[in-house]
Each structure stands twice: as C-alpha cells, then as structure tokens.
Amino acid sequence: MGFDRNQLIESLCNGIQNEATVAYYLLLDNRFRVSSGYLGAEFQETVDSGLNHMHPSEPLSPALGHRMTGYMDYQGLTQLGLRGQSPAERKWALGLQSRAHPREIMTEVLKALQELNVCWKKIGHYNMKCRWIPGIPGHLEGMVNNAVHSSHYFGDESSIIENDGIIKSPNVIKFELQLYKTPEEKYLLDLQRVQGPQFVFLDLCATFLTQLRVL
C-alpha cells in the first residue's frame, strides 16, 4: 500500500495514529468482519485464520499478538475497531463465565449464595431472584441499628415474616441471576441489580465472586 513497513510497525507499537495505522486497522477490521452493531459474535471464527494469514512476520505479530491474546481472553465482544487507542484499553465483561455444565454452575452458585445468607426463588429458566439483607452475619437476617423492631429478633420466624419487619432495612439488596449460554460453548452468569444501594450491591457481588473462588 505504499507505507514503509518499519515505520508502520513503530507507529503501531507506540499507538500513534496516522494514515498508516488507520489503514492497518481498517484492513484488520475488514478482515475480521467485526460489525459495529450487535452482531460482533461472528468475528470469532475469523480471528484465528485471519491472524495467521495476515501477520507471518516476526516483528509485527508480537504487537498484534499481545493485543489479540488479550482480546481473545476478553469475555465481552468489544469491537476491535478501536483505532489508535492505547493497548491498555480497559474492557468490561458481562458477568461471569464458565465452561462447566449448567447444573454444576447452578449448584456452585446456590451453594455460595447460601453461605452468604442470600435468599433466592426461581422465577424462570435458569433465572432467579435473590435477596440479601446486610446485617449481622450469621444472625437472623436483621436490621441495622433499628431499635424499634428489635422485638422481632426474639419472635418466631413466622411472625417475622408476616410482619415484614426485617425488610424495612433501607439497604436490602435484590438482584436477578440469569444463566446464559454463549456461542462459544461457555456459560455466562449475569447479575442484575433490582433494588438496593449501588455500592452495597457491588460489594455483595465482590463477596459473591470471592465465595465462588473466582477471585
């Protein structure tokens, strides 16, 4: 295409945006057929063949290889067409992924939830609604600093449930779990907040990930 190869390699490694690197990325995108909409899934199968086909030379492949390896690990289908961006572009993946059997995944997930005092109910196909009340760990799910309802601690379970006293905590977290299947024969656990303070939800998720031994 008339660009100096070494100059192009240097520009790519340094994340410089110029005509050469733009052309490079355009060719890359074109080769991998990543569309800008929702159908980025189709790119995956072309990546392997495309990688070998386009970049046989040594100097070039590490730069691309690093990017591609990282990209292949990314669980999300973020576009490759981030031209001129620094290689340290942060990518965010939806939920958790696993190759295990769905039944095993659900068993592990429910076990972890139980250990964290998260209650659940099934609302659909691999779909659950969960509830967690921040309070004294291991205790009856209780309220935080709410002396008015303290009498309910000593009541039997049925009265607590009927009176709904415990759910008046402002920090109750409700979220939905949905297990999906990905095109790559993996399974994805999606968590969606339904109710509750944002950081409490995120902190609960971090604890959940730790309990699952994902972290």
């Binding site: 939806l94 939920g95 299947k181 907040r193 109710q195």
Partner: protein
C-alpha cells in the same frame, strides 16, 4: 407498597402502576432442577455486550459527551478484564437516576489465598 427509602429515585414509577412487592416468604431457596436439565440455558443477548463502561475513551472524545447507554444494559454487573493474577477487581454497572445515567465502579482488593485458605 413501595419501599419508603429512596426507591423512587431508582425507578420511573407511574402512579397506579407500581409493581407490588412479592411476599418475602416467597424467597424460599428452593431450586427445582429437574425440568431445567433437559434444556440449555437461553443464549446471551448480544446487546448486553456493549456497556457504556467499554466505550472507548480517545483523545478526540470531548469530556462529557458519552453516548446514552442502552436501556438493556442498565443494572447489569460488569467486571473489568485484568490480567491474572490480579490484586484488584473492578466491578461496575450503569443505572438510571431520574433522567440521567450514572455509572458506578467499585475497586476492591482481591483477597489473597495463601496456604491457609479460608
């Protein structure tokens, strides 16, 4: 029927159309598994793979001009991809506050698992 504490901030509630809260006793921790095992879980909707969090931040993007997030991604948990082993995990999601969108990210240190794991 709605939670008194701040729930109205999160949802665009319309008078008369509030969803009644399900009875709390319904969270019974039962998971009937048998009928699920015959079928695969549903396929992940591709829309969910495009959170606002992944929007590229280039030099050309003027500050404060992110696109509006799609409704479908709201409140879904996203985890930042970092190379393992990682010492910090970043969790985030975008939610709606009245007519605006707020993306929240939590950075938390990863507990170390030594020989005496808990």
């Amino acid at each position: 029927m709605n939670n008194q504490y701040g729930n109205k901030q999160d949802e665009a509630t319309v008078m008369g159309f509030e969803v009644p809260r399900s009875p709390d006793s319904s969270y019974n921790n039962v998971y009937p598994g048998s009928e699920d095992e015959a079928r695969d879980p549903p396929v992940v909707p591709p829309h969910l793979h495009h959170p606002l969090l992944s929007y590229p931040a280039s030099r050309e993007t003027p500050p404060g001009s992110l696109p509006l997030p799609q409704n479908v991604i709201l409140n879904h948990l996203y985890i930042e991809n970092r190379e393992t082993p990682r010492s910090v995990v970043a969790l985030g999601f975008t939610h709606r506050f009245r007519s605006k969108y707020v993306t929240v990210v939590l950075y938390k240190p990863v507990p170390r698992r030594g020989s005496s794991s808990n």
